[in-house]
């Protein structure tokens, strides 16, 4: 295969405050073939993005060489040639659109290249057709959805006729549906257009589609290989803060439980994992390494106790009631659009309540009613006995119901972390001592070290900023905490930490409302889930009911949790499998039980 991109011992340092040097990329060598699909994984701050900028010629290495299509990256002039060959799509859809219309934005690159106008028109047309935006030529970019904006960014790269397209976390701000669409586009780029694609991502599902995977940590490449090899190393992935494919994790969990080693690399696809699990169980059954009988009776007793503890919300008084709520934006104008239509539901104290729905289904409009940012146009919202339509009760409601928007770190503004967290309590009129106390408690809850309090919020890392912002709401000691995608844009390890502390808060009695796109998180964490679609309530029930079938999930416009997806496949082998388990360990146990039941039935048949 022809080498397209070659990095030879590339190091990149940058200076902070002109004094300290920080090594972002440390002695990295890699070679990428023409028209291959490469994924680069790693935690936030592992140097992935800097690497992308080096390949694209946006940065020049401190030492080592970067060669793209035979051109060595030496200086600005050279970089220009390289940028022509390697386009790049960045993370934030809004901050890479330059044109005031779709067409003009796609034209920006070709214009810079000095492409003749006639050719430009053809290229723009081709690029827009490829991404499916040909009908939006004259549309202003702010009217596009997030997914459409990223498609526009890809079109902008394609119109320049590059050989390579780098995606720098291009899907991290998108909802799952748009993300899937974008990844489909990317795979056609590789297969049909013979482009080289380098995808820098947190998402394991994306990386698994690649031909080759690099894992970066602290500026170096710690592991590389085919996804089949790399994703088999569960402990490595976990130590790098990455997600492990669910079916591989479940296979490993079963192997650990029944004490039969799994064959490495044999569980790469779901189907392979099913076969491997079956092999493991059969071996364990024959070699008697595991007492299936005993584990079945044990789990039965523990199962029943769990169920009784959860379902006693029926006779409690709701903490939040929404009655027949409708909301229309730009009412009485030509732009009027219905955001919410006749919504009814209740949230009970101590619940972890999930809200899901596609982008634009009305989730954030609904959530803004919970603390009176929006007042009901028709219908009623009652929060802890206060009516949100009453102006005088707004203050009391805001004190009790804390609301956190997406990317809350964007609202930090004070000079120190302490002052920022204290902003809320101060607005509530607490005295200095009370403020100091609540700040300390909040910091502890979100898991930050007190030494951070005197720092400026703007010098922290992304994950730390996020936690400071959350602490700002937690310090107000709300009884209901409403979080809109609290883990958006964080790496898997960061996401896990945020969700963990949320679970703890809930266990201590705070009612938590979680809006999320991540079906696995919601299914695993929520007690009940409200599903919205185009402003209407589709269902409001337990995860078990919401995710009970593929058909039901399709009606909701959602996708199944990855665990359920796998369990469904497994059920074809073990018909008595209990599908409703959403974390790998309980899935593993359920599969072992189902295997046991199947064996028992078979034995009975033989016995007859």
């Amino acid at each position: 295969m022809e080498k397209f991109i070659e990095l030879n011992e590339v190091t990149f340092d940058y200076k902070i405050n002109g004094l300290e040097t920080l090594t972002a990329v440390n002695c990295v060598s890699m070679s990428i073939c023409k028209s291959s699909h490469v994924a680069i994984l790693g935690r936030n701050g592992s140097g992935k993005s800097t690497l992308a900028r080096l390949i694209n010629g946006l940065e020049v290495p401190t030492s080592g060489t970067v060669t793209v299509d035979g051109i060595p990256l030496i200086n600005e002039l050279n970089a220009w040639e390289i940028r022509k060959k390697c386009g790049i799509v960045f993370q934030n859809p809004d901050n890479q659109i330059i044109g005031t219309t779709v067409e003009e934005d796609v034209a920006f690159g070709p214009e810079n290249l000095g492409m003749p106008r006639e050719k430009m028109i053809v290229e723009i047309d081709k690029a827009l057709r490829f991404v499916g935006l040909q009908d939006k030529k004259k549309t202003a970019p702010h009217l596009l959805s997030g997914g459409q904006k990223q498609k526009l960014a890809i079109a902008g790269v394609l119109a320049m006729n590059p050989d390579c397209c780098i995606l720098d976390e291009a899907t991290s701000m998108l909802d799952p549906t748009s993300r899937k669409e974008l990844m489909k586009l990317v795979s056609t780029l590789v297969k049909d257009q013979k482009m080289t694609v380098i995808n820098i991502t947190h998402h394991m599902e994306e990386a698994i589609q690649a031909d080759y995977v690099y894992i970066m940590s602290q500026g170096s490449i710690v592991r590389q290989g085919h996804p089949r090899e790399v994703f088999d190393e569960i402990s490595l992935l976990k130590s790098e803060g990455l997600d492990v494919p669910v079916h591989i994790e479940i296979t490993q969990a079963i192997a650990d439980l029944v004490l039969v080693p799994r064959i490495s690399k044999a569980a790469f696809t779901q189907t392979e994992a099913c076969a491997e699990i079956n092999r493991i169980c059969e071996t364990a059954y024959q070699d008697k390494t595991f007492d299936f009988e005993k584990s079945a009776s044990e789990s039965q007793s523990s199962n029943t106790s769990e169920i009784t503890s959860k379902n006693d919300s029926s006779n409690r008084k709701p903490i939040l009631t929404v009655e027949n709520l409708s909301y229309t934006y730009s009412r009485e104008t030509v732009f009027a659009s219905d955001a919410l239509i006749g919504i009814d539901f209740e949230i009970y104290p101590g619940e972890l309540f999930g809200i899901v729905g596609q982008a634009g289904s009305g989730k954030s409009t609904l959530v803004q009613h919970f603390n009176g940012l929006l007042r009901p146009q028709t219908g009623k919202v009652m929060v802890m006995g206060y009516d949100t339509s009453q102006k005088q009760s707004i203050r009391a409601i805001r004190k009790k119901a804390g609301l956190l928007f997406q990317y809350p770190e964007h609202q930090l503004f004070e000079e120190t972390v302490y002052q920022d967290i204290a902003f809320g309590p101060k607005c509530l009129g607490l005295n200095d001592k009370e403020i100091a106390e609540s700040v300390e408690q909040a910091i502890e809850i979100v898991g930050l070290h007190p030494s951070i309090l005197e720092k400026s919020p703007f010098e922290l890392s992304g994950g730390q900023k996020r936690r400071v912002a959350i602490a700002g709401i937690v310090a107000m000691k709300p009884e209901i905490l409403i979080l809109d995608e609290p883990a958006a844009g964080l790496d898997p390890a960061g996401r896990e930490e945020i969700l963990d502390f949320m679970k703890q808060l809930c266990a201590k009695g705070t009612t938590v409302v979680l809006v999320s796109h991540n079906m696995d998180d919601i299914a695993r964490l929520a007690d009940r889930i409200l599903v919205l679609k185009k402003g209407k309530k589709i269902i409001c029930d337990t995860p078990m009911e919401v995710f009970k079938s593929r058909e039901q999930v399709a009606i909701c416009g959602l996708s199944l949790p990855m665990t359920t997806e796998f369990m469904l496949e497994m059920k074809q082998k073990y018909p008595l499998l209990d599908l409703f388990n959403y974390n790998p360990d309980s899935c593993a146990k359920a599969i072992i039980q189902a295997f046991h039941k199947k064996k028992k039935l078979e034995n009975e048949k033989v016995g007859c």
Binding site: G114, Q411, C427
Partner: protein, 265 residues
């Protein structure tokens, strides 16, 4: 928040909508100078009639035209009242030291009409029928000769169009930040002046930080797409002066010359 448009561009397909923005710029320039030479009621009436038919041809509702007058209504009134009392002549009505004269009434009316027509002219030819981006493009093209003496025509135009592009984003962001801080107990609509000014800090700081972040990311994105200033750059939209454009510009300048000659004589 999504339907905000910058300026008051009113979409249409009339001759004036389709004209080259540079032509429209020169026409409104000529007509504005003409306005300052008009002195008698009849020419004002004729000018008004011409504008009336021009508006009709663009199919822009008259309500839009009056809306564009709204921001300067105060200035028009102020000029009118100031003129009323500052002329010597036949006194119609007097109150203390203030004397309302016939000449004053005439001058005041003239001033008010002139100012209103000025705004109507520029709205009809520029703001209502031309997208802000075309205006920016026209500016770049008109200022191009100045580039030789180091005037950054391309850069200014690029800055204008990027600013236009980001206005909706920044408005959305401001709304979001205000809501986020309100959720933390901030109150922007209550309290005295100082409290409110303090409250603004909690909106402005995050907004500025976000602007800088956007600027940085946008600059990188532009660089990644090979932006390197005006040099060697082609354009998707090429402005082309058509026959109608030349005729319209020539006509308006002819009117200007005729009026100037008449007024001077």
């Amino acid at each position: 928040m999504k339907e905000i448009t910058l300026g008051r561009y009113y979409p249409g397909t009339s001759i004036i909508h389709k004209m080259d923005p540079r032509a429209k710029f020169f026409i409104s320039l000529a007509l504005m100078i003409v306005l300052f030479f008009l002195n008698k009621p009849l020419p004002f009436l004729i000018y008004g009639a011409i504008m009336f038919f021009t508006v009709l041809s663009t199919k822009i509702p008259f309500k839009q035209i009056f809306l564009s007058l709204k921001p300067i209504l105060f200035i028009v009134l102020f000029a009118f009242v100031l003129n009323l009392f500052s002329f010597q002549g036949t006194v119609i009505w007097a109150i203390g030291p203030f004397k309302l004269t016939q000449e004053g009434l005439f001058a005041g009316t003239k001033m008010a009409v002139r100012l209103s027509l000025l705004i109507i002219t520029s709205s009809v030819f520029l703001t209502l029928t031309t997208t802000p981006l075309s205006v920016a493009d026209a500016m770049e093209s008109i200022m191009k000769p100045l580039q030789k003496i180091g005037f950054p025509a391309h850069e200014i135009s690029m800055m204008m169009s990027i600013a236009l592009r980001f206005v909706p984003n920044l408005m959305e962001e401001t709304d979001k930040i205000m809501k986020a801080q309100s959720s933390r107990g901030a109150e922007y609509d209550t309290g005295g002046m100082i409290a409110r000014a303090k409250g603004l800090v909690s909106v402005l700081v995050p907004l500025f930080v976000s602007c800088f972040r956007r600027a940085e990311e946008l600059a990188t994105a532009m660089e990644a797409r090979c932006y390197h200033g005006a040099q060697g750059r082609t354009k998707l939209h090429v402005m082309k002066m058509g026959r109608t454009d030349y005729i319209a510009v020539a006509t308006s300048f002819a009117i200007l010359v005729v009026i100037v000659i008449f007024e001077i004589i």
